[in-house]
């Protein structure tokens, strides 16, 4: 597990009662008890932690991304962090 995954799991685990296990990674946040208000907060935490900007929902949809599960978020964050490093 790289540091992005570790940090992301730590952020998300603050918002769910369930212990993070790999089989939960593909599950919808809804099923993990993470509602849309928590998701807004998670996005804020991620933006702060990785110094990236998560696109607005409609832009994200156009880019083919989504924020429905841990796997979705991980994929997106890795992509954005990579892009941000390239821009540095």
């Amino acid at each position: 597990m790289d540091h992005i995954e570790a940090q992301l799991q730590q952020i998300i685990s603050e918002y769910t009662e369930k212990d993070f296990k790999q089989e939960l990674a593909a599950q919808a946040f809804d099923d993990l008890g993470i509602d849309s208000l928590s998701l807004v907060e998670i996005i804020f935490d991620i933006e702060e932690a990785f110094d990236i900007k998560i696109p607005q929902d409609n832009d994200l949809e156009n880019l083919g991304g989504s924020l429905n599960s841990y796997d979705d978020v991980l994929q997106l964050v890795k992509k954005l962090v990579k892009e941000s490093n390239h821009n540095d």
Binding site: D35, S36, L37, V40, F44, Q56, D57, N58
Partner: protein, 404 residues
């Protein structure tokens, strides 16, 4: 039998026009012209699209003398402007015979936001060691109601309602109850908002509900809400009083409905919206088939529009009726606490014109919002009763029904 409550005066100022005539012309213009654009009030910033529905070419000194404007936040200025239009329109003069029996109830979601931010900027950023002496009088959410009361010498019940985006819906409902209980004879009701400010935009953007292109209620590709500013005021009185003084009657306020979701501070609950609409229909003592037009809350956010569509479809059984639905927020922006009052005027104009204003900016309707959405402007319809919804953060809901 309780005397019917009627609307005898209208006033408004918003991005869709600086008075009711301009508002009517924007809303029912067959050529849809959206008033949403990047604001020039805040300096551009790469973090946020500062899209807003801003009052056009507004200069407070065109409306108020120097001494008066010093005590009025931008939101209270808008409140005063709309109130003055409405009082004049209603041809009402306040004197010793009626000032004790008149009420001012004006709603606002935030109040003097511009004053608050200006003062904090000076203290925190510029290192000033004192705040302007008028900071408190200007920032109070009750300053608009108080200022209207002072202007006309009104000494009856005067207060502000604050329930976020339902604030002026509650203002209208409270005044209606006071009129029904014969506590007052006239009411100046409405709402005002002016929060196109940097701090406020950052705060709303934090919730990820601000649109980055434009406001497209019930559209498949909707991207969120667009903050608007302005105010709207209505004059309410009992029908007997209006007739006795030969006042022009614009519409009857047939029913009011209020509810609370008791659910979540930002997520809407369909059941709460249903309760408000059903309460208003019951209060009006009519059936769903009587209502030809619904001016939806239709904020343009993913959540509201889906939840509201489901609520409308639950209240209006599609096998029995399918009222025309539109959201005028794409034309005038989301006026937060002033929204319900401005949209009440939109509904009253629809009754007058026997036409329904369109939902601007909709390219493709969201198939998940299976309501009878009007996207073609000035759609002619026989409208005897029309409903206006306002659903606020915190799940605080109001529905108003007006009758021709």
């Amino acid at each position: 039998m309780t005397d019917t409550i009627v609307v005898t005066g209208l006033g408004c100022i918003s991005a869709a026009g600086n008075d009711v005539a301009e508002f009517e012309s924007t809303l029912f213009n067959p050529e849809l012209v959206s008033s949403i654009a990047p604001t020039n009030i805040i300096k551009p910033d790469e973090n946020i699209p500062f899209l807003a529905a801003q009052v056009n070419n507004y200069n407070g000194s065109d409306y108020f003398p120097k001494k008066e404007i010093k005590l009025l936040d931008r939101y209270a200025q808008f409140a005063m402007i709309s109130a003055e239009q409405a009082v004049k329109d209603a041809n009402l003069v306040f004197d010793t015979t009626n000032k004790h029996r008149t009420s001012v109830v004006h709603g606002t979601s935030i109040g003097g936001q511009e004053t608050i931010e200006h003062s904090y900027y000076e203290l925190y950023s510029q290192g000033k060691s004192r705040a302007h002496p008028f900071t408190v009088p200007k920032l109070l959410p009750s300053s608009a109601s108080a200022s209207i009361s002072m202007k006309y010498g009104i000494t009856g019940p005067t207060f502000t309602t604050a329930s976020a985006c339902s604030s002026s819906g509650h203002a209208i409902a409270m005044a209606a109850l006071m009129l029904r209980s014969n506590l007052i004879d006239h009411a100046i009701v409405g709402g005002a908002e002016a929060c196109i400010t940097k701090g406020n935009f950052y705060a709303w953007n934090g919730l990820r509900v601000l649109s980055n292109d434009t406001c497209r209620p019930f559209a498949q590709n909707r991207s969120g809400l667009v903050i608007g500013e302005g105010a709207a005021t209505l004059i309410l009185e009992r029908e007997s009083s209006a007739k006795a003084r030969n006042a022009t009657i614009y519409a009857k306020l047939a029913g009011i409905g209020m509810s609370s979701d008791a659910h979540n501070i930002v997520q809407p609950l369909t059941e709460g919206a249903i309760l408000a609409m059903e309460a208003a229909i019951k209060d009006a003592n009519i059936s769903t088939t009587d209502i030809a037009y619904v001016n939806a809350h239709g904020s343009g956010t993913m959540q509201n529009d889906l939840s509201e569509s489901q609520a409308i479809l639950a209240v209006f059984n599609p096998e029995l009726c399918s009222p025309l639905v539109s959201s005028t927020k794409a034309a005038h922006g989301h006026l937060l606490g002033a929204g319900a009052a401005l949209e009440a005027i939109a509904v009253i104009l629809a009754l007058k014109k026997q036409a329904v204003p369109a939902t601007f900016n909709v390219l493709n309707k969201d198939p998940l919002c299976a309501i009878n959405l009007v996207t073609k402007n000035n759609t002619k319809a026989e409208v005897n009763y029309a409903m206006s919804n306002s659903f606020a953060f915190g799940g605080l809901n109001t529905t108003l029904i007006f009758q021709k």
